[in-house]
């Protein structure tokens, strides 16, 4: 190979590498990004069983059921609709009735949302941002309630 050919092959290799990395990144974004929904959104959005989403809202009053062992059932609501959720594990310290939560997981075939992670707010003063925005958009929560 001449000097020029060598240089060209190095550059081509580099570009091929960058191209592969870019392709992989966009593929992964399409496949692995999980969308955020509030319960009422689920009537319009088509979420397949097994598709990973984040479901946010308030923990509905009187729905927390501590079953056998470490499985907990509760409903997440945006005051219009509510969705049953089950979760096995330790709930966050600030998990309480009528508090904002974000759960992440998939819908089972029976329509119950099986969460593998539950996030509550970090601090007594905050509401998870996505939940707060969603509730504001639905007109059920005002900024003034945050304090």
């Amino acid at each position: 190979m001449t000097r020029k050919q060598k240089r060209l092959s190095v550059i081509a290799g580099g570009l091929a590498f960058l191209g592969a990395a870019t392709g992989l990144t966009f593929y992964a974004l399409g496949q692995k990004a999980s969308y955020f929904y509030m319960p009422a959104d689920l009537t319009t959005a088509s979420v397949q069983p097994g598709q990973r989403i984040r479901l946010g809202g308030l923990v509905e009053k009187g729905t927390i059921q501590r079953g056998q062992r470490a499985t907990v059932g509760f409903s997440v609501t945006d005051t219009h609709k509510s969705v049953k959720v089950t979760y096995t594990g330790i709930l966050p310290d600030l998990f309480r009735e009528e508090q904002g939560v974000i759960t992440e997981g998939t819908f089972g075939p029976d329509g119950v949302f099986v969460a593998d992670s539950v996030l509550a707010k970090h601090d007594e003063r905050y509401m998870p941002k996505d939940v707060a925005d969603g509730l504001k958009a639905k007109g059920v929560w005002q900024e003034s309630k945050s304090e």
Partner: protein, 663 residues
């Protein structure tokens, strides 16, 4: 004292403007006296910022609730250590720490940069001053920590309980020393662009600053990871949380910078690339500051959400990143490009390193910003988490880690891959053996686990092979070998230790992810549970009272082979009444390099408690590897060539005397 601090901060802002303008014009007019203003002003600016910081810290230490920031983030019952660390456990105070470190680095350049060419030094200090001015203005205009309350409240609102931990004493200062340390590399780059001149000695000046920043950033990230691991009670060491990514991006590009600066220094190639990388690395630091401090992300780190702050930092971000890149576009063509080189060589390997690391940085950047972009341009809200990064970052890292041992063994200019491969035979055989042993005897189910262990062993032994080859192991008598080992340049040890640390961290990650086990169950007092050969008995829940919290402490006993207890583990649910906040204190017992991790959940109706138990093999290596990497950076910093420096001070003085002598 508080007003003194406030006044000092305003004065420091004014001085930062002087530091920006006077040396800059001095360098332009080639006026020695104007240029000489930069040094003393930088040192004074640092002293004033330090005074301001001490004033705030003392307000925190003495629980002066007439200061709004103290009232919001402190409480009189807090232990003194948390009162002091609480100084930077909030938005205002942490920004003050940010500028304190920024001016500290500026003062270091002023103090130790006496052998720099006068115009370069003046320009560096000017750019440093400009960054300082922007952030001083930001603090004074939107995040003033010295605002008073009248009437003063009697009691404070307590520091966020999650932050009431020793981690707060170490993690933010280290992280900022890293983040902000890269500002020096940025200033050097912009100064070089202003002058339109760059040479190998430039790299010799920039490299130690990169090393210092990188060392602290490594420590800060490792500490943050360990803190999240034990404090959040989730047992994870890395969550691919946007805030974590914000600190990881400058680390990745900083690592690339560290390597490309070597090529520039030794071979005087990759000049323009190194300069661009220095700008990009600090841009990542600024972006990180923006992401964390603007409130666009919700996290433990986002102390408050105030849109004006976000917009302000965004303006700073645009000004500095945009400005420096525009300057780069204008001036880069004027800089002389370095020489070309053979792809199979040390510099070729370092270019490969840069290719992988910058691509990895870009991947993390896309994953971090994509949700923000989607939310800005559509109604959808998405989150990009671990599955995305495992799919993109993982495949990028594996080939990079595979070639790491080759790099330091390849010769400059023209390397011989086969000769290097021969030298690495032992490491390769051991890695292969480790893979087979793992697959056959420990866990045959997971191919990834076996390959992961092999990769880690390859990295660790590869780093040791580097030392062995360079000291002539096997060819010389033991006495000579020891002498040669002692005589090796410290930078060789630096490389070997940094790569060794990388191997150890890899081993820790593979061990924890692939061989870790966990159990979630509800336990009554007296019950035992067995996990991966360790038996734990739940003794019971005991209420206790802390200085500013009450807790239910769950006591557990580790049962030995004989059936008698060999140690205690305790995990607690703490309640902080001021913030009405509950936290979980995890119980951790270190056994060898591994840890048994225990976290307490809710109490059931029948008196049982939900317990989550993890066995985390080799987990301590994750952070131990980080410490070894830091040690590597420290050794490299002590290298002779960095201590001696390029143009000796005496020659410089002679030139200075001559120039003084001339009218």
């Amino acid at each position: 004292m508080v007003e003194t601090g406030h006044f000092a901060l305003v004065l420091a802002f004014a001085l930062s403007l002087v530091q920006t303008l006077v040396p800059l014009f001095g360098a332009r007019l080639n006026n020695q006296r104007l240029m000489a203003v930069g040094g003393p002003v930088a040192v004074t600016g640092f002293a004033l910022t330090a005074l301001s910081f001490v004033a705030l810290a003392s307000a925190y230490a003495s629980s002066d609730f007439s200061v709004a920031s103290v009232w919001e983030n402190s409480h009189s019952l807090q232990p003194l250590i948390y009162k002091i660390t609480g100084t930077w456990g909030n938005h205002e105070g942490s920004m003050l720490l940010w500028v304190l470190i920024l001016t500290f680095f500026g003062a270091l350049v002023a103090a130790f940069g006496s052998n720099l060419p006068a115009t370069l030094r003046a320009n560096v200090l000017a750019v440093q001053g400009a960054i300082g001015a922007a952030f001083f203005l930001f603090i004074l205009a939107t995040s003033n920590p010295f605002i008073r309350l009248n009437p003063a409240p009697i009691e404070g609102r307590d520091l966020n309980p999650i932050l009431q931990d020793l981690g707060l004493a170490i993690h933010p200062p280290f992280l900022y020393l890293g983040y902000v340390g890269f500002s020096i590399c940025f200033s050097f780059s912009v100064a070089a662009l202003i002058e339109g001149r760059i040479d190998a000695s430039w790299a010799r000046w920039v490299r130690p600053w990169t090393l210092v920043a990188w060392m602290f950033l490594t420590g800060g990230i490792a500490m943050g990871s360990y803190w999240a691991y034990y404090e959040l009670g989730w047992g994870g060491f890395w969550f691919w949380d946007p805030v974590e990514n914000a600190s990881f991006m400058p680390w990745l590009s900083g690592t690339a910078l560290l390597h490309s600066a070597i090529v520039m220094e030794k071979r005087s190639a990759l000049k323009i690339w190194t300069l661009l990388l220095a700008i990009l690395t600090f841009s990542m630091s600024l972006l990180g500051t923006f992401l964390v401090r603007s409130g666009v992300l919700t996290s433990v780190h986002a102390f408050a959400t105030d849109p004006t702050r976000g917009v302000f930092i965004l303006c700073i971000l645009t000004l500095f990143i945009g400005g420096s890149l525009a300057l780069f576009a204008l001036r880069a063509s004027r800089l002389t490009a370095g020489g070309l080189f053979h792809p199979i060589s040390r510099e070729g390997a370092l270019v490969l390193n840069n290719l992988f690391l910058t691509t990895a940085t870009a991947t993390v950047l896309v994953g971090t910003l994509y949700p923000l972009a989607v939310e800005a341009f559509s109604a959808d809200k998405i989150s990009v988490g671990a599955p995305f990064f495992n799919l993109t970052f993982g495949p990028l890292m594996v080939p990079l880690l595979l070639v790491v041992p080759f790099g330091p063994l390849l010769a400059w200019k023209r390397g011989d891959v086969f000769a290097v491969a021969q030298r690495l035979m032992v490491a390769f055989a051991a890695a292969l053996l480790a893979t087979l042993v793992t697959a056959l005897f420990i866990d045959g189910a997971s191919v990834f686990a076996a390959l992961g262990v092999g990769l880690a062993v390859w990295l660790i032994l590869g780093a040791l092979t580097d030392l062995a080859v360079k000291s002539g192991f096997g060819n010389v008598a033991p006495g000579i070998l020891v002498r040669r080992l002692l005589r090796l340049p410290r930078s060789v040890y630096g490389t070997a230790f940094a790569h060794l640390g990388l191997g150890l961290t890899t081993l820790g990650i593979v061990g924890t992810l692939c061989f870790g086990t966990e159990k979630i169950l509800s336990m009554h007092a007296g019950e035992t549970v067995e996990l991966s050969g360790h038996t734990v008995r739940f003794v019971g829940l005991y209420p206790a009272q802390g200085p500013n919290y009450s807790e239910d402490r769950g006591r557990f006993e580790l049962i030995g082979v004989s059936g008698s207890p060999v140690g205690e583990i305790s995990s607690a649910k703490r309640f902080y009444p001021v913030r009405e906040m509950t936290t979980t204190e995890s119980g951790i017992r270190t056994i060898g390099l591994s840890q048994l991790y225990l976290s307490l959940g809710d109490e059931g109706n029948d008196g049982s408690v939900v317990v989550r138990l993890w066995w985390k093999p080799l987990v301590t290596l994750i952070w131990g590897g980080g410490l070894v990497m830091m040690a590597g950076a420290a050794m490299s910093l002590m290298d002779r060539r960095l201590r001696v420096g390029a143009p000796s001070r005496r020659r410089k003085q002679v030139i200075a005397l001559k120039s003084v002598g001339q009218p």
